[in-house]
């Protein structure tokens, strides 16, 4: 079985820096971490491999990312934690991609890695919050998709059974392989690497490929290949300062009545 886990580098801090000109997130590689939802997806893949290995089957877990060269460090960390191999799509031509252009790049990456039986993505990324990559990948690869997977119940050679969230609550879903699952954070906590894993990963090869090397269509990648454009991004400005209500209880109650009256 071949599982591909898509991972994205996101800022470690929740304070995202925006480029005032392009209105896209500034990704300078400083303090980047693997998107926490993607980390849960990787852990599910590693558990699945352990289960199937115990049954005598060899499972390959590849990690795939599109990002700046510094993302290689994060992919090496994924290998340290147990991933078999990693591919980083890195090229200036990929920069400024929306979810559709990112999907095209990742699809090309999948072809490079070899078509998977199972694709695992985080449900969403903590910086962009779109939750679109998984479903779009399923569309591009013509696979079934189950979003917001909370529990991976079972995985056979031809189907996977999961508990997944939805508007009506949690459902038990069976999907035919190959398929795409997008994973909720609570599905699993990514394991830590061992000393042996860290040292081995230092000598592992993280493949880094450009757009042309993976056969990406230049018209479908990067800012130019993105049908959606961010017109403006901004940090909401602080609203008017709060009003302190003080004094005795009756005085405070009167002040509150007056304030509510002014607002109403």
């Amino acid at each position: 079985m071949h599982i591909v886990v898509c991972v994205k580098a996101v800022p470690a801090s929740t304070e995202v820096k925006m480029d005032p000109v392009t209105n896209t997130i500034v990704r300078d590689g400083g303090d980047a971490v693997v998107n926490p939802f993607d980390a849960s997806a990787l852990e599910l893949a590693l558990r699945l491999r352990e289960e199937r290995r115990a049954a005598g089957e060899d499972v390959r877990v590849s990690v795939l990312s599109m990002g700046i060269p510094a993302t290689e460090r994060l992919l090496r960390d994924c290998i340290a934690r147990g991933a078999t191999d990693a591919l980083l799509l890195s090229d200036r031509a990929f920069a400024g991609a929306d979810t559709l252009a990112t999907t095209h790049a990742l699809t090309c990456g999948m072809c490079e890695l070899g078509m998977p039986d199972l694709v695992l993505c985080g449900k969403m990324a903590v910086d962009g919050d779109t939750a679109q990559i998984g479903p779009e990948l399923a569309g591009a690869l013509d696979m079934a998709c189950v979003a917001d997977v909370r529990t991976l119940m079972a995985c056979a050679n031809d189907a996977v059974t999961v508990r997944a969230g939805g508007d009506a609550g949690v459902s038990l879903v069976e999907a035919t392989l190959p398929c795409v699952l997008t994973v909720a954070k609570e599905a699993a906590t990514l394991r830590m690497p061992s000393i042996a894993g860290v040292l081995a990963a230092e000598h592992a090869t993280v493949d880094v490929r450009g757009a042309a090397e993976v056969g990406a269509d230049a018209a479908r990648i990067g800012l130019a290949g993105s049908p959606t454009q961010v017109v403006r991004s901004f940090v909401p400005e602080q609203q008017a300062a709060g009003v302190e209500v003080s004094g005795d209880a009756i005085g405070q109650a009167r002040q509150l009545v007056r304030i509510i009256g002014e607002v109403a």
């Binding site: 971490v33 926490p36 960390d77 906590t189 830590m192 690497p193 061992s194 000393i195 042996a196 040292l199």
Partner: protein
């Protein structure tokens, strides 16, 4: 009680009522009693309170955050001087070599200081120009930290100095003592002694100090030799010692620390935490010895035994608050945790390779390890470490509900390096013979474990106490210390006599009476009150009890 309801500066001395019940106990779960309480906010207010209480010789117990484990802050009658409102950072200094120092009031909480340092942001109201200049320089300097790391980050810095707190990173950075550069001590009379490292030294075992009020204190230091291991048992004394070291670790018995100047250090470039699991405890001990020899960047070497891991496993399964704990491997019988602080990732990788190799030789495995390199992973391991004592406390509280006589019983003893295996054999054999349940964890790099008896009945609690006395004698015979970091307080007083003997205790008490002739401060800490009173009486007969010098 002469001074109740009177003003002492703006710090009122008020009767202690039921609303102050919290101030009658600390984290040791011991309870005391007192008649009055005050909450000074400045050194001037401390002085006014002490002056008001001195005439009647009212006992005074100093409190900070009440996180102590030896009952040092639990009052034995008299007045509670609570310093929790003295929580301001007063200034900053940068010396010619580029080292930074923070000047703090004693009630500043460690976690708050850490936050301030990380953000390089302080409330600077009242700071002098030199401090503001140092803060501006800090903005462009490498991040600075205060390295002392007792597990309890809500401890206050005055309390940490009073008991010479240390914690995990003392393996590399030493205890609190090494990081206190200066302090101000208000004496029971309200006079002040200002001490700066390097400026007031003993001549052999004699110390002459002059207070700001012009009083000369002639101090004959005790003759005992301290153990060659981590130690917070009684007064620090050695030939030609620095006077500041006598105050650090004195358990609030000599005076009230009103200000501290703390030496800061640059934050390490790379910090990685590694948990190493073993199936046999003896292998973990061998690995610890090898780590001490072979690792150059270890800042902490910690230990969790099988019972501690089992408590965590149970807690994780039964409590939602602990459900996000990382689960120890099923076959792990114990864990050695190492914090590596390195100058670069390359150095950290080389250290990791050395650690992996030594684990394989010691019977462990480079595979059975967790390496935390990201903030998220490091936070998970911090939670793991802190959950052990918290879970044990919860377990004890649960058992206490069934039998109120049961309370926490945790050891704090350390031995020299070559005695690690011997002391562990002692713990294992005696616990097994007594049929007690126990969990051990702590600072194995310093041969300093907190062995916690988990009594199921009052009888087991009594048996545990007997066991501790037996360990105190054995640890003393090994050249160890009965208290390595919690201080002696009131709970380990009997062990101090086992460790040093009555004569040394009397010598310590005489030192106290030079600083505090009426024996007002920290009554019940270090010394039995009868010993102090008898020495005072004898001194009065000799005409020197209130001498102190002049």
């Amino acid at each position: 009680m002469a001074a109740i309801d009177k003003h002492a500066g703006s710090a009122r001395i008020v009767p202690l009522t039921r609303e102050h019940d919290d101030y009658l106990h600390d984290e040791s779960r011991s309870h005391g009693e007192a008649e009055s309480i005050s909450f000074p906010t400045t050194e001037g207010e401390i002085r006014a309170v002490l002056r008001a209480l001195h005439a009647a010789g009212t006992p005074v117990t100093v409190q900070g955050a009440r996180t102590g484990l030896a009952a040092g802050a639990v009052p034995h009658g008299g007045h509670v001087l609570n310093l929790s409102r003295m929580n301001r950072v007063l200034g900053m200094r940068r010396d010619d070599a580029g080292a930074y120092f923070a000047r703090v009031q004693p009630g500043v909480i460690l976690s708050e200081l850490r936050k301030n340092l990380h953000a390089r942001s302080f409330a600077t109201e009242g700071w002098d120009d030199a401090s503001l200049q140092a803060l501006r320089a800090l903005a462009d300097a490498p991040e600075q930290i205060f390295p002392t790391d007792p597990t309890e980050a809500s401890a206050c810095l005055g309390g940490m100095a009073a008991c010479n707190a240390s914690g995990a990173r003392s393996y590399a950075h030493g205890a609190m003592r090494q990081h206190v550069n200066a302090l101000r001590l208000v004496l029971a009379t309200g006079d002040v002694l200002a001490l700066r490292r390097g400026e007031q030294r003993a001549c052999g075992r004699h110390l002459t100090l002059v207070t700001e009020g012009g009083t000369t204190l002639e101090v004959e230091l005790p003759a005992y030799e301290m153990p060659a291991c981590k130690n917070a048992s009684g007064y620090f004394v050695e030939d030609d010692m620095d006077a500041i070291d006598l105050v650090i670790g004195s358990d609030g018995t000599l005076g009230v620390i009103s200000e501290l100047e703390l030496a800061l250090v640059p934050a390490p470039a790379v910090t990685w935490d590694v948990s190493c699991f073993f199936t046999v405890e003896h292998d973990a001990l061998d690995a610890t010895v090898a780590m001490r020899h072979e690792l150059g960047c270890a800042a902490a070497i910690e230990y969790f035994d099988g019972a501690a891991l089992d408590v965590l496993r149970r807690q994780r399964a039964e409590s939602t608050a602990f459900s996000s704990l990382v689960e120890p491997p099923a076959d792990a019988a114990c864990c050695v945790y190492v914090e590596l602080q390195c100058a670069s990732e390359d150095e950290a990788l080389a250290e990791l390779a050395r650690l992996g190799a030594l684990l394989e030789r010691a019977g462990g495995s480079a595979e059975h390890t967790w390496v935390a390199r990201t903030e998220l992973d490091r936070e998970a391991l911090t939670f793991f470490r802190h959950a052990v004592p918290e879970s044990v406390n919860m377990l004890i509280d649960e058992r206490r509900r069934i039998d109120p006589a049961i309370t926490k019983l945790g050891s704090d003893m350390a031995v020299p390096n070559e005695r690690l295996h011997e002391v562990m054999d002692l713990y294992r054999t005696t616990i097994s013979e007594a049929g007690l349940e126990a969990a051990a964890w702590g600072h194995i790099g310093n041969n300093h474990l907190h062995v916690n008896i988990l009594p199921r009945s009052a009888a087991e609690y009594a048996a545990g106490k007997e066991l501790f006395a037996r360990w105190a004698r054995a640890v003393t015979d090994m050249g160890g210390a009965v208290s390595a970091e919690h201080g002696v307080g009131k709970l380990k007083r009997d062990f101090l006599e086992i460790m040093y003997g009555y004569q040394a205790l009397a010598e310590m008490a005489r030192v106290k009476l030079v600083f505090d002739p009426r024996g007002q401060l920290g009554r019940g800490n270090l010394f039995d009150e009868e010993l102090l009173d008898s020495l005072r009486q004898a001194g009065a007969l000799d005409g020197d009890a209130e001498k102190g010098g002049a």
